[in-house]
């Protein structure tokens, strides 16, 4: 634990400095506002540390995944404007140079993740290729003028950033004063000046990777969200910039969320000015799978989600936004909630640290451990003498750690086996399998048996591929618990290989035997029938089949031995977050339902017996707005206010228990009317009705069947 921490601190030293001062602030809020105990502070620190580690892990992953895409992009950039650099003047180039080199990045629908990608891209381009990287968003560029302005200021801005000498700054001030006159021509003269100056200055900049760029670095323009640009702006911009291609080496990078066809739809005419190269980013689903693998399916981070919570997060991902960033956000919330609400989460850290912390546990904490259901279950199973001794928790946590280690290895193996089965009885993605395993004993599920059946029919090459994968899994995992199994796997592999060789020999000899002579039809049929019989009687298993069954049995045994759900483990509460509904409530709320419930069934919130009612009706003592709402539900598109107010008054006077015969005083009537007015205007604020001119003294319904 400490090692990883120090490593981390080294890496993000500056980040941590900021963090520490900030921790002191926010730790105050951690423990329900009570005086800050040592315990809650420690918990909060643990939480923050864990989160930071996970976050940087996720960021690293993102970088790694983007690397491929970026490499391709750089390659593309190197290729483009070759001619420009050579200052070649041949005719062919003259024609071609009307085309702007364009990289179309298809990034997928998860728009929220794009920002990070672009941020990484810009940083990388600045470091390796050119200082002139401009990123533009549609909302900044309502017309060409704004676009050019933004473009020019950013291009010149980065130049000034690069060599921030006094003299340049003055120039900058001058520039900003003439902001209104930006045009492509202006930009190109500026560019010529700068590059010439640089050429003579003999470059001393950090851009060293590609020497050919030194003289004339390209201007990379990133249009982050091509779909939201207006056609006219884009078209004009492209036509204009294509005219200046001789002087300015412009490269466009288009961020596409939908499909590449959009370019043609957006730019029916200007597309001929573009020389497009299509680059595809990794799909968000794969990204998620990798992320899960790095953050949850590992023993590196002690924190885990239970089945429901994970399911909620995955569902939000699959059905709402496909956004990995939001998934990470959900994970952050889960971690926070876990440490906030579970006092024992103090033990949710790495093993060596756990050892230390256990020794300093207070009485209360020990007591709360004893109260954990899983611990009580454990104690009940033990004999009384042992019960006394069983208070050292360390062992359990260690066991839990080992359990996880084995769990993930076996899980990955099982996934390797089942992910290629037809129909995917146990799910195609590892997350599905993981959820299933978290929920209950996987071997008791309906799909498990058929899956094994299918496994028993695998062809040899498939089986061997899977075994290779499994060996890979074992090799990559640090744990030594399942060493013997790994050995066994390798053994199997070797056997299969030898089998293959022998098999071929067999085949050779068998076929010679059966060489048939030419015969007539009758004999042929007969011999064929014989052969068929022979084959069916020969059904007893071949060597391969025997081996295959052994493999399947082995994996079955492994599964039964290791893949039991975590809630059977003692002290699992310490590391598993179980508040699925909190996640759903805070991340994926349903405000309309809440409003409807509050209006329709006030008892749900106000636990007063007077408000209790069966079925749909509400009692007449309910809050005014509920009554008004209920009454308005009875109307179609238009509501007569007079009728409404009278109906309202009927209900309310009945509730007030005034004597019906004594003519209610004018004042009470007035008050009721005022209450009605308030209820109506509140409904208007909530968006249920609106005033209408269709008929005098009417309002229009706006919801659910209105209008």
């Amino acid at each position: 634990f400490e090692r990883s921490m120090s490593f981390h601190i080294k890496k993000n030293y500056r980040k941590f400095q900021g963090l520490i001062s900030f921790l002191i602030f926010s730790a105050d809020y951690f423990n329900e506002g009570e005086s800050l105990s040592e315990d809650s502070k420690l918990r909060f620190d643990t939480c923050q540390l864990l989160w930071q580690q996970m976050k940087s892990e996720a960021e690293e992953l993102q970088e790694e995944l983007n690397k491929n895409l970026f490499d391709k992009l750089i390659e593309f950039l190197e290729k483009s404007h070759l001619e420009f650099r050579k200052k070649s003047t041949n005719w062919n180039y003259q024609i071609k140079s009307r085309e702007i080199p364009t990289a179309a990045l298809v990034l997928g629908v998860n728009v929220t993740d794009h920002d990070l990608t672009f941020k990484g891209l810009t940083a990388m381009l600045r470091d390796t290729i050119t200082p002139y990287v401009v990123s533009l968003q549609a909302k900044e560029c309502p017309d060409v003028k704004h676009l050019l302005q933004k473009l020019a200021s950013q291009v010149m801005g980065c130049h000034i950033d690069m060599e921030s000498t006094e003299e340049e700054e003055e120039e900058c001030v001058q520039l900003s004063q003439k902001k209104m006159h930006y045009s492509m021509a202006f930009l190109s003269t500026w560019y010529r000046n700068v590059t010439q100056k640089k050429g003579s200055e003999s470059v001393n900049k950090k851009i060293t990777s590609s020497s050919q760029w030194k003289k004339s670095p390209p201007i990379v323009i990133i249009l982050k969200d091509i779909e939201s640009f207006s056609t006219k702006v884009l078209q004009d911009f492209i036509i204009i910039s294509s005219q200046y291609l001789h002087q300015l080496p412009i490269v466009l990078v288009l961020g596409i969320a939908t499909s590449p066809i959009i370019i043609h739809r957006l730019l029916p005419h200007a597309v001929s000015f573009l020389c497009i190269e299509l680059l595809q980013s990794l799909s968000c689903k794969e990204h998620l799978a990798k992320l899960l693998d790095k953050l949850l399916l590992t023993t590196r981070f002690p924190f885990k989600l239970n089945e429901k919570a994970l399911q909620v997060l995955i569902n939000i991902f699959l059905y709402h936004d496909f956004s990995v960033q939001n998934f990470i956000k959900g994970l952050q919330l889960a971690i926070l909630e876990h440490f906030y609400s579970q006092p024992l989460s103090i033990l949710c850290c790495d093993l060596p640290e756990v050892k230390r912390r256990i020794h300093s546990l207070s009485e209360d904490q020990c007591e709360s451990i004893r109260r954990l259901p899983s611990f009580m279950r454990y104690v009940e199973k033990q004999t009384p003498e042992k019960q006394v001794a069983s208070l050292t928790n360390e062992r359990f946590l260690k066991e839990l750690h080992i359990y996880h280690e084995n769990f993930f290895i076996v899980l990955k193996c099982l996934h390797a086996f089942t992910s290629s089965l037809p129909k995917y009885p146990l799910g195609r993605q590892i997350r599905e399998l993981y959820c299933a395993c978290l929920e209950k004993n996987i071997w008791e599920s309906q799909e498990y048996e058929p899956a094994l059946q299918l496994l028993r029919m695998l062809a040899k090459d498939e089986l061997m591929a899977i075994l290779h994968k499994c060996v890979e899994v074992f090799r990559s995992s640090p744990g030594k618990q399942l060493g013997s199994t790994a050995e066994k796997l390798k053994e199997f592999l070797a056997q299969f290989q030898s089998l293959e060789e022998s098999n071929e020999e067999e085949n050779g000899s068998g076929s010679q035997q059966k060489g048939l002579q030419k015969t007539d039809l009758y004999h042929l049929q007969k011999s064929l029938l014989e052969m068929k019989e022979l084959r069916s009687s020969n059904k007893k298993q071949t060597k391969f089949e025997v081996q295959r069954d052994k493999v399947v049995d082995m994996i079955d045994n492994l599964v039964r031995k290791y893949l039991f759900p975590p809630d059977t483990q003692t002290l699992y509460e310490v590391v598993y977050f179980t508040g699925a509904h909190t996640l759903r409530e805070h991340l994926n709320a349903a405000p309309r339902i809440a409003l409807h419930t509050a209006l329709n069934n006030p008892y749900h919130y106000l636990k007063n017996q007077a408000l209790k009612s069966e079925d749909d009706s509400i009692p007449n003592v309910a809050p005014d707005i509920c009554i008004a709402y209920k009454l308005h539900l009875e109307c179609s598109r238009l509501i007569n206010v007079v009728d409404w107010s009278e109906a309202f008054a009927t209900v309310v006077t009945a509730a007030e228990e005034t004597d019906p015969n004594s003519t209610a005083s004018e004042e009470i009537k007035e008050i009721i009317h005022a209450r009605f007015i308030r209820a109506v205007s509140e409904l208007e604020l909530l968006g249920f009705i609106k005033p209408t001119k269709q008929k005098t003294d009417h309002v229009a319904r706006l919801t659910w069947g209105g209008c």
Partner: protein, 640 residues
């Protein structure tokens, strides 16, 4: 072959050609693996594939049949239409020829790859579809959990079903029902209700009796409807004429009898239709139709209900107006006074609710600090709650409270208050975006800056625009700006698309308080509240004071002119040219450009409306009633 069938018809939504092909390819894969004897695997598939390939685009129904056929064909391949030698060679090739096999296998591998690819695509779709069910399951499973802490399971169905056409007297009926729940006789409020209640009684009686009969024997009902309908119609037409005039549709108020009868007929017919549909539905459900079919039925039902509800543009409502009732509009002040005399019930429970929310304050602070922003939703004004939060938590930190419900609020004013009061910057900005950039840079440069933004009603008229939300979102995405906001409108979440939501980084908290929206609604042009109120006057004065002397003069001129023409019913405003002339004569402006500049200022404050007359001339009008205007002039004169 049964396995194949179940695969080919996976779901009703597989319609496109591509998916058809894909599913067909899967069929092939299955055939290859499960139904063919191992030796025939390769040769069989070669032909098989060809034939099938040609059939790929056939409709799905035939596919199933075809696959049966194919299977037979495959079985016969060995002995059918081929000469002995060929067959023998054929078999021998396979049995012995390792190299031959390899060749074929290679070809196959290619095909296989292709197939696998498509398979994958298809399966992904399929799986997601399947997952839908899972999702619903999970939702359902969760709802129990939900019930414990915050939601009602039956909600969804009720919320999203369409409204069927309601009879006008329904509301009164319901009112009686609700009123009766206390179990005592209900007084009739006034004469009018009595009349209203009595008029529909005849029809009500009928309808209830009708209902009873319906329940008892539906079939009989259908047979007898024509007769009953006629009877009912006569009943309708024999209504006294004065009560009839109480009901009319919104479009043509004057024509009575005939049209109404028609309406009634159609209504009855519709009822009948609905009934038949229901009966057919129930009978079919008796026959245990699969769940899926049922679902389909209900959806079509929903669609038809929608069109029924919207079939005619006419809505039947009573014609009574507030004037007949002799209940004048109240103004804001009297309304407030009246309401203060009424104490809301369930104060204990409300307090309990509030305490429950107040316990969350620390958590909110923590989450705000960790980069989340918080949005509160649920029925009831959340202003008090946020006020309390501010008082207990934010005493020592810099914060800005924004009353979103205030009609004059703009994003510009929010940004201004940040730049001027928090960051103490005196300069001006060319545009809101520039200002935003400046703020962002300031916060980036100076890490000691921290700011809490409290926005009451983030979804108010003025702030709900796309641009405003974008700017606020960008502001809230700064790590050192903490936003806590409330929303009330039912459609408020529609303001945010995915990118805005990720900017805001919301955590949702339900805070149903049942508090009256006193302040929030007081600015609203409520239909029943008289608009002459003190508010208009005070805001008028406020704006007026901030004007330059010349502008005041201009505005005063316009007011005077409008007051002079008070009595003229056809007054549509002062034409721009006349007004310009007057202003010139009073030495208030020197060109019509300056006048126009002033007018824009007024227009921005909603003090002026311009209208094109029939002659194409611009007319200027102050959209404030004359009483307020004369009050205003009086006050101003006194001051001066």
């Amino acid at each position: 072959m049964s396995g194949v069938q179940s695969r080919v018809s996976p779901s009703p939504w597989v319609t496109s050609r591509a998916t058809l092909v894909a599913s067909w390819l899967r069929t092939r894969a299955v055939l290859r693996e499960w139904t063919l004897p191992p030796t025939l695997k390769f040769s069989g598939l070669g032909r098989f594939g060809e034939v099938l390939g040609a059939q790929c685009l056939a409709p799905r129904e035939t596919l199933i049949v075809m696959s049966h056929l194919k299977q037979q064909k495959v079985k016969m391949l060995e002995v059918q239409f081929v000469g002995d030698d060929d067959v023998l060679n054929h078999i021998l090739d396979k049995e012995e020829g390792a190299k031959f096999r390899k060749d074929r296998a290679q070809v196959l591998v290619n095909v296989k790859k292709l197939m696998k690819k498509q398979e994958n695509d298809q399966d992904e779709d399929d799986q997601d579809d399947l997952k839908d069910e899972n999702y619903v399951d999970i939702l359902g499973a969760d709802s129990q959990e939900y019930l414990k802490n915050g939601c009602v399971a039956s909600g969804g169905n009720k919320v999203y079903s369409f409204q069927t056409r309601k009879k006008p007297e329904k509301m009164a009926e319901l009112a009686y029902e609700i009123a009766k729940t206390s179990g005592k006789s209900v007084p009739l409020i006034c004469k009018n209700t009595e009349k209203m209640a009595s008029t529909p009684q005849s029809s009500k009686k009928q309808s209830t009796s009708e209902k009873d009969q319906l329940k008892s024997d539906e079939k009989n009902e259908f047979l007898s409807t024509p007769y009953r309908l006629r009877k009912r119609l006569t009943a309708v037409s024999t209504f006294p004429s004065d009560t009839e005039s109480e009901y009319s549709d919104s479009n043509s108020e004057d024509d009575k009898g005939i049209k109404q009868e028609e309406e009634k007929i159609s209504e009855v017919l519709m009822d009948q239709k609905r009934l038949t549909k229901h009966s057919s539905l129930s009978s079919s459900s008796c026959k245990k139709v699969s769940a899926k079919k049922m679902k389909k039925d209900t959806t079509t039902d929903l669609v038809e209900e929608y069109f029924e509800a919207h079939s005619s543009s006419k809505v039947l409502t009573s014609d009574r107006t507030l004037q007949k009732l002799k209940r004048t509009k109240l103004d804001q002040q009297t309304l407030h006074n009246l309401l203060s005399k009424f104490s809301p019930p369930f104060s204990a429970e409300l307090k309990q609710l509030n305490e429950q929310y107040e316990r969350l304050f620390h958590k909110w602070m923590l989450q705000l600090h960790l980069g989340f922003n918080i949005v509160l939703y649920g029925l009831g004004s959340k202003k008090e709650l946020l006020e309390k939060f501010r008082a207990s938590m934010l005493q020592d930190s810099v914060h800005v409270v924004i009353n979103g419900f205030f009609p004059g609020i703009t994003v510009k004013s929010i940004l201004n208050s940040i730049t001027e009061e928090i960051l103490e910057h005196m300069g001006t900005f060319r545009s809101v975006l520039d200002q935003l950039d400046w703020i962002i840079n300031r916060f980036k440069d100076d890490s000691s800056l921290e700011l809490f933004l409290l926005i009451h009603n983030l979804d108010s008229q003025m702030l709900r625009g796309d641009k405003s939300q974008q700017i606020l979102g960008q502001l809230s995405s700064l790590p050192k700006i903490y936003l806590i906001a409330s929303i009330d409108h039912i459609n408020a979440p529609l303001m945010w698309d995915h990118s805005k939501q990720s900017l805001y980084n919301w955590l949702w908290y339900e805070t149903t308080t049942y508090r009256p929206y006193t302040e929030e609604t007081s600015y609203e042009n409520s239909l029943l509240v008289q608009q002459c109120g003190t508010l208009a006057l005070s805001s008028l004065i406020h704006v007026f004071r901030s004007l330059t002397p010349n502008a005041r003069g201009i505005f005063r001129l316009l007011i005077k002119y409008q007051l002079e023409n008070e009595e003229n019913p056809s007054y549509i405003g002062l034409s721009f040219q006349d007004f310009y002339q007057q202003c010139r004569e009073a030495f208030l402006v020197n060109s019509d450009l300056t006048l126009r500049a002033q007018l824009t200022e007024f227009r921005d404050h909603k003090l002026l409306r311009t209208k094109k007359g029939t002659d194409g001339v611009e007319y200027l009008l102050i959209p404030i009633d004359t009483g307020t205007l004369s009050d205003f002039l009086e006050k101003e004169d006194k001051e001066a």
